[in-house]
């Protein structure tokens, strides 16, 4: 795909993932345009986290190819890992280390020219100054999310992968995180791929939505286009239609199927 004439940063071609008899992904193909914010949507077990893990090179697909920033993730992942980053509430940073120590370790892992300068800048931008010296394990979930985001921003990634970036956050903190990510995307032109269960987040942040169910892509489009296509008012209703397989898209003003 070349959405808006932009080149593709992510090209997923016919990717399947099997665990023995269980199929987690079945011949999934999609592309993500440079500078886009794309959501992977679907219920539990739809294949969102599997897809993100494969994009990160943490998981090898059973079949198919993945290219990220022009490189084959199966053979050349180390050429691109320095230009992407990842944040998930389900993957921790060492809890015994202080926030500053964790960020310093990852700043060195990403080969930053000025680790302490970058950490200072991120601490200011993400309001971490008050707890830089506290053990990461002692922080609230909102504070930990901001620290994880700081770690994900250390290398100013061109491709940012987020697995449920606002899960378990209060509405105020979640709104703040979304605002920060949107501002980063606007200023840097980075590409963001996120998996989320929060439909208002998707409507607010994403240009494009990939709808998944039981390891396959069942639909795709801009949030407004999907809402119109399914004859609904919100993405949440579209999500429920797709997750429950209960309503088909509208064609020429008529619902194709409904139950």
């Amino acid at each position: 795909m070349n959405a808006g004439g932009r080149g593709a940063v992510v090209v997923v071609d016919n990717v399947s993932k099997h665990y023995g008899p269980v199929t987690a992904l079945n011949q999934v193909s999609f592309t993500v345009a440079d500078g886009a914010t794309v959501a992977l949507l679907g219920g539990n077990g739809a294949g969102k986290t599997t897809t993100i893990s494969i994009l990160l090179g943490l998981l090898l697909p059973s079949a198919g190819t993945v290219r990220v920033l022009g490189h084959d993730m199966l053979r050349e992942r180390h050429r691109v890992l320095g230009r992407m980053n990842f944040s998930s509430p389900y993957v921790d940073l060492p809890r015994r280390l202080s926030v500053a120590e964790n960020l310093n370790v990852y700043a060195h892992l990403y080969g930053l020219a000025d680790p302490s300068g970058r950490i200072r800048a991120l601490a200011k931008a993400l309001d971490l100054d008050g707890f830089l010296d506290r053990p990461t394990g002692d922080l609230s979930s909102g504070q930990r999310t901001r620290v994880a985001l700081a770690k994900a921003m250390l290398n100013a990634p061109r491709l940012l992968l987020l697995d449920e970036p606002t899960a378990s956050l209060d509405p105020d903190t979640a709104d703040w995180v979304r605002g920060y990510l949107q501002a980063y995307q606007r200023e840097s032109g980075a590409t963001i791929v996120l998996a989320s269960h929060n439909m208002s987040e998707v409507e607010r942040m994403c240009d494009d939505v990939v709808m998944m169910r039981t390891g396959t892509i069942v639909d795709r489009g801009a949030p407004s286009a999907l809402i119109a296509k399914y004859g609904r008012q919100t993405m949440e209703e579209v999500f429920l239609d797709i997750a429950r397989n209960r309503r088909r898209p509208i064609h020429d003003g008529k619902l194709l199927a409904s139950r």
């Binding site: 665990y19 986290t49 599997t50 893990s53 990160l56 090179g57 943490l58 998981l59 090898l60 920033l69 180390h78 050429r79 691109v80 890992l81 320095g82 230009r83 992407m84 980053n85 990842f86 998930s88 389900y90 993957v91 921790d92 940073l93 060492p94 809890r95 015994r96 280390l97 202080s98 120590e101 310093n104 370790v105 990852y106 060195h108 892992l109 990403y110 080969g111 930053l112 020219a113 970058r118 053990p135 770690k151 290398n155 100013a156 061109r158």
Partner: protein, 280 residues
């Protein structure tokens, strides 16, 4: 240097320098953990010191009752200290790796530019640091307590030390691979697996005292050559280069094999999705 260098990253850094920085980052991460916890540092030195004191008293008794020990009073204390070098070297690799699993940090590490072989190098450096912290206090205390100066072994001591350190790395890498593959339920392997080779290593007795059919198995372990070589020096028979060469050659084989097994296990973990699932 790759063509992927970006703003914010060190523009002057070569690939080698970046690799060194990533290795340093992992070492730094484990030094932070050690620095934050004095009980951990105390624990490192505690067991070797207790072992040294125990075997010091055994030596005191045997010197009066055993002509073999009387010929070289430091043989048992030197043996227990060198055994602890091997034991701590193994633990230094496997515990540092399991620390990442306990912290659920493997996923974060493997989405960074860190390469698995760089992780291996960092784990071995940490193992060396942990082994030195562990054994040095006991080795120093042996002089005032039992009049045994282990460092009197001179250069051969360095040869024994490094061979045991390398063998400990190999065992630690295999244990780490097993724990990654089997999950943290298998973590006790880090403490118990190495004791399978203790009876065969001739720590406190010559290999010749083992049953004849078992001796070839014992000689296949670098540790046997090291302890035999240590006794040769202490009993005044001189430094045996043949034993050093044998230990070195075996260590190269074991370390290469263990590294390959560890790297293949990381690949299996990537195929099975284990890197995101680990944790307490």
């Amino acid at each position: 240097m790759t063509d992927d260098r970006r703003d914010g990253l060190d523009p002057a850094a070569s690939d080698l320098r970046l690799a060194a920085r990533r290795i340093y980052a992992i070492i730094l991460r484990h030094l932070y953990v050690l620095r934050r916890s004095w009980p951990r540092i105390l624990e490192l030195a505690y067991w070797p010191t207790v072992q040294m004191i125990l075997w010091g008293f055994v030596t005191t008794f045997f010197v009066q009752n055993s002509s073999w020990v009387a010929q070289a009073a430091g043989v048992l204390i030197s043996a227990v200290l060198l055994w602890d070098v091997l034991f701590r070297s193994n633990l230094g690799v496997s515990l540092s790796f399991m620390e990442e699993m306990w912290a659920r940090n493997l996923g974060q590490l493997f989405v960074s530019p860190l390469r698995p072989i760089e992780l291996v190098v960092a784990l071995t450096v940490m193992s060396f640091i942990r082994a030195v912290i562990s054994v040095t206090p006991a080795a120093l205390l042996a002089l005032p307590l039992f009049d045994v100066w282990v460092f009197g072994l001179g250069l051969p001591l360095a040869a024994f030390f490094f061979n045991l350190i390398i063998f400990g790395w190999a065992i630690g890498l295999i244990v780490s691979a097993l724990v990654l593959r089997l999950g943290l339920g298998a973590e006790s392997l880090a403490w118990v697996a190495i004791f399978a080779i203790a009876p065969l290593s001739g720590i406190y007795y010559p290999i010749a005292s083992l049953p004849e059919w078992l001796q070839p198995v014992a000689w296949a372990l670098p540790s046997s050559s090291v302890f035999e070589g240590m006794r040769s020096v202490l009993f005044g028979h001189g430094f045996r280069v043949d034993l050093l060469a044998s230990a070195l050659a075996l260590n190269v084989v074991y370390l290469v094999a263990a590294t390959v097994v560890f790297l293949l296990t990381i690949r299996v973990a990537r195929r099975r999705g284990l890197l995101l699932q680990q944790g307490e």
